[in-house]
Amino acid sequence: MTLESLEQIKGRAQAAVPGAKIDIIPNTGPSQQSSLLIDNEHALAVARFLRIDPALQLDFCSNVTGVDWLERTLKKKVKVKKVVDGEEREVDETTEEKIPGYLEAVYHLYSMTHKHGLVVIRMRTADRADDARLPSLTPIWRSAEFQEREIFDLYGIRFDGHPDLRRILMWDEFQDYPMRKDYREPDDYEYEPTPHDAVLARAREHYAPRPHLDGAENITPQQ
């Protein structure tokens, strides 16, 4: 059974779950794997529809991952009417659009009953705050159980409705979220024989500076 197109899936999901806001995020690269962006209140209902609908039956949640998007500025070329040399003309102007940062959870779904293909759904948080929350899709697909715990551990997104949300890869008392783009590693410095770039900068902070000798062989530990 071949998979329907994303537009058809979006139409039927919006018909089945009234009030759901689903957008198609196009994928610009050669892989053409576009995804559906689902709003957070209706995510559970849309996921249930995707799973039990007889044509789709997406019962295999293959991969659940988190993505950290920092604040971005997109430059767009817009045609604007401006007065140039006394006459009104359409001029190309580049406008900058600031997209605020957010965290995202991406789910890759397949179907084992129909053996058909990839449907990607995404959920976004409002911002990158420390208590970002998203609904958990573990009641629908149990394979999300450990993977959502990993997203909580590494990105800090709390999943409402998850049966056992605690850290999985880091130890329980760990404070920060390591996979975020603005994560700063703790200063547990150890002697590094071949430092360069950022590591060299840190090495210089810890050792007695010798500006005239810049080689690694000339760095001695400062006890």
Binding site: P30, S62, H108, L118, I168, M179
Partner: protein, 392 residues
């Protein structure tokens, strides 16, 4: 406790009263044992907190993260090519298939074509990896069952021959770093092909011996049949893939479903189990080894001569176009996928590994409940985990 000696009347008249401290039921008291990270049978640094009532497991919580190296963050700070040697170290038994999964995802991301000879070489190396992985798994499972290493050493004897092949082809036994985006790094000469053919021709004889050693052994049968039964619905729901899923009877093999590489050109069957218990998972691996030998024989006949690398791909400053891709293959342990988001730069924006063993561990608690501690090790051995992949 009174100092007087009780004269016991015959049993019919007076039932025996045991003093309170000798009652055999600890009501509401479960013994919590940490089958700790340092354990010879946990396939790496893996910890299970089990709550026992006597010998029966009532609760099981897996704890991992002891080998967590944040491979995904390293991937964000390294170029696409530079991440290839790191993928060797994920599931360190099967470095060739890890490399292939990553190369496949990048080729999907950037739209790169692969020459025919390279595709055949990839299939040959992936099936050789599958052979040595399944043989080692059976060996490890048997030594967890206290076979004291004999099946393991026989399996390792064959594994060494396959690793010698990998060494003469790619330069390293386990950390091969062999695939590149658009093909393979070096070509295999005709003498390598001869040696590989000889190994594959001799392999069924080893498999006959190995199966005679292991699979009809009464101890193995008693310890693995009806132990750790997994139902098909739970398996699909929990995202289990690989031989563990097929042991429950679900016919889902990524080689047949996706048809990546040149797998549609080969005729092979997908073995399916009936009961979903540990013995079926064992049998899956034994049968898949036979199918792999069949695929290898066909591949050796069909492999063409030609280039092994797409000449248009740059080695340095490789910048795939912006976008994202999810590529997956049937690794020996299950479905291994890589999800890459590119923003046009030399490093990926998001680099994610879909770890097979991590997700296969979701149902470990369900499988072990109601079984004894000895069964826990057998069940864990049949799940086939490698901590490099679980923790990344």
């Amino acid at each position: 406790m009174s100092a007087t000696i009780q004269t016991l009347a015959p049993a019919a008249e007076q039932p025996r009263q045991l003093p309170p401290q000798m009652t055999s039921r600890l009501e509401g008291e479960l013994l919590e044992v940490s089958m700790g990270p340092q354990h010879p049978s946990t396939h790496g640094v893996f910890r299970m907190n089990v709550a026992l009532e006597g010998e029966i497991v009532r609760k099981l919580k897996p704890v991992f993260g002891y080998l967590h190296r944040n491979h995904e963050k390293i991937g964000e700070n390294t170029s696409y090519l530079g991440s290839m040697p790191y993928t060797d170290r994920l599931d360190y038994f099967c470095s060739m298939t890890n490399n292939w999964a990553y190369a496949l995802s990048v080729e999907k991301l950037a739209g790169i074509a692969v020459p025919a000879r390279a595709e055949y070489l990839r299939v040959i190396l992936a099936e050789l990896t599958r052979l040595q992985n399944h043989a080692s798994l059976l060996g490890f499972l048997l030594s967890d069952m206290d076979a004291w290493g004999t099946p393991l050493m026989y399996a390792f004897r064959e594994r060494e021959k396959i690793l010698d092949l990998f060494e003469s082809l790619s330069g390293s036994r386990m950390m091969c770093d062999y695939m590149r985006f658009g093909g393979c790094r070096v070509d295999a000469g005709p003498d390598w092909m001869e040696r590989a053919k000889k190994l594959v021709d001799a392999f069924p004889r080893f498999l006959d011996e190995f199966e005679a050693l292991i699979l009809s052994n009464e101890v193995v049968i008693a310890r693995t049949q009806e132990v750790g039964k997994l139902s098909a619905n739970l398996a699909i729901n929990a995202g289990i893939t690989g031989p563990m899923l097929r042991a429950c009877g679900v016919n889902y093999d990524v080689r047949k479903v996706d048809g990546y590489g040149f797998y549609p050109r080969f005729k092979f069957r997908v073995p399916l189990g009936e009961h979903g218990d540990t013995y079926d998972r064992l049998m899956m691996r034994a049968l898949e080894m036979r199918e792999s030998v069949g695929i290898l024989k066909q591949a050796f006949e069909q492999v063409p001569v030609g280039p092994v690398m797409n000449p248009k791909v740059k080695i340095r400053a490789f910048r795939p176009p912006a976008g994202e891709a999810y590529g997956r293959i049937e690794a020996p342990k299950g479905e291994l996928g890589f999800y890459l988001i590119s923003n046009g730069g030399t490093n990926p924006y998001r680099y994610r590994v879909r770890p097979t063993s991590f997700i296969n561990l979701t149902v470990l608690e369900d499988l072990c409940l109601g079984h004894t501690v000895a069964d826990v090790m057998v069940i864990l051995g049949s799940v086939d985990i490698v901590m490099g992949e679980v923790d990344r």
